[in-house]
Symmetry: C2
Subunit: 434 residues, 2 copies
Amino acid sequence: MTINIKNFLNDKTTLSKMGEFQSLKQIEGLEMSSISADLYSDGRDDLALFYFSKGANYATLTTSNSITSEFIPWNNNSHKKIIKGLLVNTKNANTFTGKQGKESIDILAKNLSRVLTLKESKNKKGTSETIKIKDLIFASTGVIGEEFPVDKIRERLPELVERLRKEHNKMYWIKLASAIMTTDTKPKLAYEEIIIGDELVKICGIAKGSGMIAPNLATMLSFIFTNADINSNLLKTLLKRAVANSFNAITVDSDQSTNDMVSIFSTRSIKIGQNISLNDKAVQKFEIALKKLCLNLAKQVIVDGEGAKKFVTINVINAKSLGSAKNIAFSIANSPLVKTAIAGQDPNWGRIAMGIGKSGEIVDQKKLKIRIGNFIVAENGKISETYDEKKLKEYMEWGSIEIEINLKLGNDAFKCYTCDFTHDYIDINADYRN
Amino acid sequence: MTINIKNFLNDKTTLSKMGEFQSLKQIEGLEMSSISADLYSDGRDDLALFYFSKGANYATLTTSNSITSEFIPWNNNSHKKIIKGLLVNTKNANTFTGKQGKESIDILAKNLSRVLTLKESKNKKGTSETIKIKDLIFASTGVIGEEFPVDKIRERLPELVERLRKEHNKMYWIKLASAIMTTDTKPKLAYEEIIIGDELVKICGIAKGSGMIAPNLATMLSFIFTNADINSNLLKTLLKRAVANSFNAITVDSDQSTNDMVSIFSTRSIKIGQNISLNDKAVQKFEIALKKLCLNLAKQVIVDGEGAKKFVTINVINAKSLGSAKNIAFSIANSPLVKTAIAGQDPNWGRIAMGIGKSGEIVDQKKLKIRIGNFIVAENGKISETYDEKKLKEYMEWGSIEIEINLKLGNDAFKCYTCDFTHDYIDINADYRN
């Protein structure tokens, strides 16, 4: 695997890979465009704009890292009710950029609102709706601590707005998802649709993330769009619940970004009920679809984890609490010794036992049952009597490995997802800035 | 660097490396021996015995992993006041070995006490002091979850006891320190001596540890011996204080062993005072020497960290509490992204900022000052105005890298030690059991 930070669309194999992706559809009320501001000096797209011509309800969840991108407080401080536009840049995180970083956002917001207002006034010939600075939000990803390339980005805003398109097929979604990548080797996209009444409710999601992926928003960006009319408060609740077992259940390297952000936007094109709440059948249907979409995107991030060759599921069951199950799952998933053993296709379950213990959670070694795939490797306080190293080694050659920890202490469970730790992770990260 | 689990003494280059080690001396009242029980199937020494002919006061600190070697509860459960012998085996951790593991210790203890009693009765011709099972302690290190090779070890006990030697020069100490290694590429030894009154007080220490090294006893074994007569309670206090800023201040991979153990033994040969306490000058002198010795051993563990090419010091200063300084230091030291950047000789200080933030500790980005070596890389919330990438890249080529985080929030500080994350770590650990 090589690092491919070039625009995915320029890759000759893209067309042959098209079948890997779901067919994302057009969302009424959403216009999108991407462009190169030459931040990577190789012509790849590095700016993406999402414009909601009639405004969008929205909810957003951000990193819990105490050092954040300048964009995060900026977004939080301006009290937006309805969002008109989202601008995403890659290559530069706008983190630890001080005054220059903060002022850059003011410059971009001012320019973007002006260019968008101009577009509106042209389209509507006279009604000239003003796009205000507070109608905009921003996201960024990339290197921390380098001066923010505000001029390069600002200069491209007119053409970026010019390029906005209402029609977007699968290929166009792939283009947008590619424009937000950093070390990702492929774009991440997911789609769900449900019928509510006679209406087709669509949910389109894109994500980026490959390294600095840990729970609590998994060091990534993800943007989800739906045509269903759901108010911002309800969107927030639904997003939180969906993220808990998807983006908050994955880890590549235990490192956590300063720029994590997951947002959902509703263009309000399709009514799914009056005064809807969590108890409504329509909302429940939507929630199931949203959870599926988030888990799909989260798993794509892990599959594309830096250097990852194997997808690993850690399932902790019968724990005395959810917190305990979660601690144990992540203690194993973040262990470099477990992850290198998996890379080496070695069923070294002793390291899994070490990972359980180092979580600090009290376990009963005699009750504990550890499975790798369908094979019980340890029970009754020792190696399983049916332990078969040969069969296990064969299983470890698979691309997807499942580890189950049965604590037999209670009824709570948590499943998390990770990848193995390979030479490529080190190659990618020893050399990231060059 | 290759994995050298062969007996260090068989290495042709050992003699040429002798100069690297301090000259450890004989401790009166201590006899030592090592032997091969062929646990590695290559003839290297894998058993070490330490025998205190007149008994020893002792103190021991063990792993906080909730899954432990069977030896740990066994040692704790038998209430020893005076220790006569310590047996250490390598290759097998005796962890997750169930009934077989527990019974193995009973078998070894019974046999060792018998053979040692026999030796005593031969030596003293008639006085025949009995070495009781409760006079013995055990330590082990190696693979978790494999059946404990009790028979192989038991069979070698008579010859191991036969080989006990009162005289031990530098070379003999190296032999013993080599017998407790696993993936270590070299033995770890340290020596301090002080004069108290007219007496020469000696402290000899050996350690092993290379992977599964994290704070809270740093996944390792270390055994320290002194001729100074210090009671067990005072030894415990001194050991705890020395470990806090040495073995508890190092991390290779954030993983924590099930077998960690640091012990100190006093053969009581030299009186350093009556009813001595922490306030005595002699004890203070001893404490300074013990701290120096522990830090020396801890640093040797890091230098020999699995795959390590660089020694890294993370110094967090002016924190609002010791806990906060410690959290931030280890958050950086355990970050795979920071460690791979160091391996790549890349002064990617943005990842250091990320590591500070992901600790969860509140920091003031505007006050924060980050130094790499003597170079300020970030201050006043942004990259330093004196930042010089070329000079920093040159500095990153050094074998020892210092990172200083000045939080400017209080008066507490913590220094921790780690190494970089290289391809060799993955090679060693993907293939550990083969």
